[in-house]
């Protein structure tokens, strides 16, 4: 494990969880402060719609 990673775990964690809320909940249960950011893949992960959206973004 790199030194930086080890240093990270020796400090107080500051976590922003993006997407799946259960990850944040697990940390909260361990009394770790978490900011939850709602995020879902575009069009709920539908590849065809995501590709259309991509072509229509400006």
């Amino acid at each position: 494990m790199s030194k930086k990673v080890l240093e990270l775990f020796q400090k107080e964690l500051q976590v922003v969880n993006i997407g799946l809320e259960s990850f944040a909940e697990n940390l909260q249960e361990e009394e770790v402060e978490v900011i939850q950011l709602d995020w879902e893949p575009p069009a709920g992960g539908d590849e065809e719609l995501a590709s259309i959206l991509d072509s229509l973004m400006d």
Binding site: E40, P42, A43, G44, L49, I52, L53, S55, L56, D58
Partner: protein, 415 residues
Amino acid sequence: MVSIKEANQEAVAIMQKSEPVLVDMGIAGEVLPGMTEKTILHAGPPVEWEDMCGPMRGAVIGALIYEGLADNEEEAVELAGSGEIDFAPCHHYQAVGPMAGVTSASMPVYVVENKEHGNQAFCTVNEGLGKVLRYGAYAEEVIEKLKWIEKTLAPAFKKALDLIESGINIKNMTSQALHMGDECHNRNKAGTALFIREITPYLLKAGVEPQVVSEIVEFMGENEHFYLNISMAACKATMDAAHGIEGSTIITAMARNGVEFGIRISGLGDQWFTGPAQVIDGLFFPGYSTEDANPDIGDSTISETAAIGGFAMAAAPAIVGFVGGTPEDAVKFTKSMYEISVAENETFTIPSMNFRGTATGIDVRKVVETGILPAINTGIAHKDPGVGQVGAGLVDPPKECFEDAIRAFAKEYKG
């Protein structure tokens, strides 16, 4: 291809600058372009007689009797199915109608003019609660009330409006109503009160008989949704002006016919994109349940399209219980609408949110991208003709209509 961003900014700028003003009362057959004696308009996207839901069929029967084209239910049903009647969406005739939305040639309509853009929009007069045509009732008392609106109320309004040189600015009135606890779709108490306050002196000044003024004021006062039809016409005048902008993905109409929910997109001409109308999640009046509910119906979703109604839910804490939520839910709903819109309204603001402007200009791309559907407040109609309203609540539109719209948009503009 044109820039979608710029096209949307143009469409939204038109919405922001629109000045819908009530200028006159007209007769549908005389003022709606293309309307004939055999035209029957209805709410939502196109639907033929055979496919109409109960309340809409009832309203069509009532309209045919009201017009003198049929003497009774049996004759009306025969005529409706004969192919002689042209059924068309109100939206195709610069009009909107709540619930069944049925509009026929002799019916009086509000004439709302968008002073900034010069276009007009129309809506019938709200008949009140109980047994009314918009919920599919067609008993004698229903036809009598429609005749009273035609022969008594509308001519009196016309006289009063003749005296108001600049008309009644509906955009300003709606803005005030939002500051008085209405969201102007499911709650119209303040809007109705403001309208009564505005029109009554002119009814008197116009020399309308005191007894008639008394009847009209009583009629308006008993119906807390009286303002809805006026507000809807104003929203339609606003959204029609924003329709037809090349390259714009802004939604310019959302409407339901009781079978399908449909949307139109500014840059996609007259095409409708539809999905099944949903059953409303809400509170029911005593004695009624989901079993009794007709799927979502009416053109009143022009309110949300024009940045009020569900998009201003936080302005109306008095009805959040009625629509099955809490004040916190109302703020949450209202805030989530910014995720799918491109601007904040410069006129419609919400006091409890530091006078933040309501989310304005729904971008169909954002709806598909985020999966957040427009929040719609609505009344619930009984599935059988003529029973009336059985509750109110929130409804999600079907997501496939938004998905189909972006597919069509990509095909149109990207080949």
